[in-house]
Structure formats: C-alpha cells, structure tokens
Amino acid sequence: MSVDNVTPGEMMTIAASRALSNDDVCFVGIGAPSAACNVARLTHAPDITLIYESGTIGTAPDVLPLSIGDGELCETALTTVSVPEMFRYWLQGGRITIGFLGAAQIDRFGNINTTVIGDYARPTVRLPGGGGAPEIASASREVFVTMAQSKRGMVERIDFFTSFGHGEGGDHRRRLGLQTKGPTLLVTDLAIWKPDPETKAFTVVSLHPGVTRQAVQETCGWPVRFADDLDETPPPSDVELETLRALKARTEAAHAGRAGGGTRKGPNDG
C-alpha cells in the first residue's frame, strides 16, 4: 500500500499495535492506546487479553469505546469485576504484561504528567489527574506509551510526576524498589523510541516512512538521540490499514447516532 494516503495518526496506531502479541495481558488506556490494542486484536493478535480499568477483562469491543467504562466493553468481555478487584488482584497482582498509556506531557525518561501545568498548588491548567496511571506504571511488567509528538507534550522537564517512568534514568527504578521494567516503548506519529540500555533515555530506533530526523527534533522538546542502526518503520499493510479504518468507521457510526430526548445536541466529533 502506498504511504502517501496514510496519516501520521494511522501510522502511529498501527506501529503501536505491532508491539503487542497474542500472549499479552494488556491494561488499556483510553484513546490512542485503545485503538492500537484493538487493531492488534483484530489483526495479528486475536487472542490478546485486553483489560480496561472499569473491570472488564478479556474484552473485544466491535467499536472503540469513548470511555474506559463503555457498555460495549462489558458486553464483549469474558468477565467484569469490581474496580477494587481490578486494581488489587489483576494490576497489583502482577498479571498485566503491558500497561499501555497515553500522555499529556512526557520527558525523555518516560515520566508522565497528566496532573497539572504549572505549580501543583496554583496550577495554570488543572489536568484530569492520574487515574490508574501511577500504579499501571509501577505494577505492569512493562509500559508502552503512545502519543502524537509536540513540543508542548514532549518536554525537557515535566511539571508533575503523575507516573514514574525511569525517573532520572539509569537504575532509578531499582533504587525505588520497583521490580518492573517501566517504559520500554514509545510510539509517536513520527517514530518508534526505546530507552537506551544504560541511561534509559528514549532513543529513536525507527522513523516512520517519509519522516526526517529534523521533523522529529522539531516536534520534541529535548535534544533527540537517534540509534546508530536507525530503522524505517514498515508501512501499514493493507490488512492493518483496512482494519483500522473499518474500526474507526464503525466507531463513528455507532457513536454519532444516539442522543437523548432531553438535552440539546452539541457537535459530535466522537
């Protein structure tokens, strides 16, 4: 398939989906992670276990959920447990192989901020907060992150440590008693990043088709390191692209139609 008509967002979702395997038990964040996980399930990893923090285990939604608690997730799940059980038996219990997160702000060590812009006590922008992320980041065996690149999002220094990645790098996780691997993969709309084995700083290991080093640096707030043996990400296959587009089309059709009788309608970009 020609790369020309593939959007960067599509390339990001598909590249992220490839990192997941049939044996993974994946704790899925909403948005880009959810799309990637479901593309994996609908292509090369049909037996992957997807878990959303609302308690749905082994879910197989036909359309992408708008929230972590959509009815579709429960209706297609193997089982649905309470939220305390989800966080105690399933996440803290060490059963999650991949915690898949998005990020508002991230630094080169995979530390994530979704709490505040500015000072915590007097924030410029009050963001939603961490939700499940602090313990997804510490209890999952490894963490994947996916987000579109921007200087506002990929920063030299995050304003708040919502969830801990590699801290200041090196063996910082180990020093805190964290036995899990932390962030091992960052997939953006431009590139695939992995932590340097020593410093743990994210390093570009693969550029998506047509993306230049300059484009990566221009949308990233820290000085970018590129791997010596830099790859080019294989373009989406027909199956991957068709699967993703069909999923998005089903999602839009499903979420556009329904509205209640008592409230006025707002614009629907869902």
Partner: protein, 285 residues
C-alpha cells in the same frame, strides 16, 4: 433498613450541609438524578468524594456546593477537561475548592477498607509518583514479615453515598449489574446510602446466586427514577448519551451559559425529566 421514598425526600433526609458525600458510578450508573436533586436542595460545604468526578461533579462544583474534592481522575469522559472544576481550582470561582488527590488504586483500596471496617488500606502504590509529596493522607506502613514498605491511605467513610442501580425488589434489596465499579464498596463504606433505581420488581427469585446484590439492611432509602443515570447509561436499560457529554464541554466553557443551562435543565426541572431524556436511548431487552 431500606425505605422507599420520593427522591426529594431521600435527599432532604440524608444529605446535610457539610456532609462528606460520594455520588459514585464508574462511567456506568452515574447517579445524575440524585446529584441534580442535591443541587436543587441547595446544600452547601460538601466534601465531595469520587474516583472519577465528571459532569455532575462539574455541575455541583460550579454551583458552589462543595468546599473540597477527594478524587483520582477528574475529566469529561471521552471529551476532555472539566471546565467548572478548572475554574474553581484555577480561579476560585464560585468559591475555592480544596483538593485531596489520589490514584485510582488508592481510592479503590480506600473504599474497600471502608467497606471492610478497617481504618486504612495498604497497597503497593505511589512509588516515584508526585502525589505522595503533596497529599499528607498518603503515608507508609511496613510489612512485619518482609520489611517491605507499602503505601497507606485512610479508609473512605462518607457520611452518605448515592448510587444508581438497575432494580430493587419489594423488600428493598438492590441489584447492580454490568460494570459494577466501586458502588458496592461505596454503599458499604458510607454511614447512609441512597439508591436510585430504574424499577422495582417483586423479588429476585431466579437470579444467579453470585450477582452483586446489596441487602435491604445496607441501604437507607430507595427512590425510583427511571433514566436517573442519564447522560450516563444503565446496562440493560439505555445507552450512554455521548452527544450530551460533548455538549457539556460547550456549556461549561462559559460561566453565564453554565448558569442558564443549570436553571433550565436542573433548577427548574425535577426527577421526572430523566425518563424523557433516555426515551431515545433504549436497548433491546
């Protein structure tokens, strides 16, 4: 012992100024009708507790009912930020709002400890996370066998919990199905619980033995409010009203638009409007 009563009476009886109140629901089964009744009642100085404050907490905060919020994720699910909450936190409008912020794991464990009658919950959490430095209610406890240091948070014990559920039987037993969230724990952790339900059935005979049922003696009041979770959804009854969540982003962006919307849709309305609001959202049963 559960008593059936109109929602107006249930809220008036069980929600008082200064209460610590949890209106719980995890995307599913959000007790919107009860929250709107609390707004109409005009209660003040609440400490609002919820893992996932969304539109109804944005409304209560925007109306100035709350002095403090205990929470772990404040967002308009699938849409973005909560603009009335932001206005309160960033600008103190209409009044300043104190925040006690946790992670989901901490809140879930804290409700669980409250339901279990324990004073605190221990869990492996907050390692390297910034909240531990800004929230004095995040402490530590040491395992007396391994020496491992775990995070500790105080149990949540709200004065009153509000939840929405599918149905009650005539004795006042309550059934919650689907994404059950944190509702059972919220009810058992609270001193009083008020439940709105879609309908009342004769009894629960024939139900599978292992479902999520709250016995009538764990609930103070039950009010029948069909559609009472709108724009959230009730598994088996009606679907989520996604456009309403998008609309809220527009309404909440402006103080005056917000005030006008609240007058029309909450202050001048009553519990009866919820049935109409879900009329177009039914699922096959």
């Amino acid at each position: 012992m559960a008593r059936f009563m109109p929602l107006e009476e249930a809220v008036a009886t069980h929600l008082k100024d200064g209460d610590t109140a949890a209106f719980e629901g995890f995307t599913h089964l959000i007790p919107t009708a009860a929250a709107h009744q609390a707004i109409r009642q005009g209660v003040s100085d609440l400490v609002l507790v919820r893992m996932t404050p969304d539109i109804v907490y944005d409304q209560m905060i925007g109306m100035g009912l709350a002095r403090k919020l205990v929470f772990s994720y404040a967002g308009n699910p699938g849409v973005g930020l909560l603009r009335r909450l932001r206005d309160a936190v960033e600008n103190g409008w209409p009044r300043p709002l104190a925040l006690e912020e946790h992670s989901h794991a901490a809140m879930a464990n804290a409700y669980e400890a409250g339901a279990a009658g324990l004073p605190f919950a221990a869990f492996r959490g907050y390692r390297g996370a910034g909240l531990a430095a800004v929230n004095p209610n995040i402490r530590q406890v040491t395992c007396p066998f391994t020496g491992e240091v775990l995070a500790a948070v105080p149990a949540l014990r709200p004065d009153v919990a509000f939840i929405h559920a599918q149905k009650a039987d005539r004795k006042g037993n309550v059934l919650v199905e689907g994404i059950v969230g944190i509702q059972k724990e919220a009810v058992l952790a609270a001193r009083r619980a008020v439940v709105t339900v879609e309908e009342v059935v004769e009894d629960f005979a024939g139900l599978h033995p292992n479902l999520c049922v709250l016995p009538h003696w764990t609930v103070a009041a039950i009010s029948v409010v069909p559609g009472g979770a709108h724009p959230s959804y009730t598994h088996g009854y009606y679907e989520r009203d996604n456009p309403a969540y998008l609309e809220w982003d527009r309404v909440a962006a402006d103080r005056e638009v917000f005030a006008a919307w609240m007058k029309t849709h909450v202050l001048d309305a009553g519990p009866g409007v919820f049935a109409e609001r879900v009329a177009g959202l039914g699922v096959e049963r």
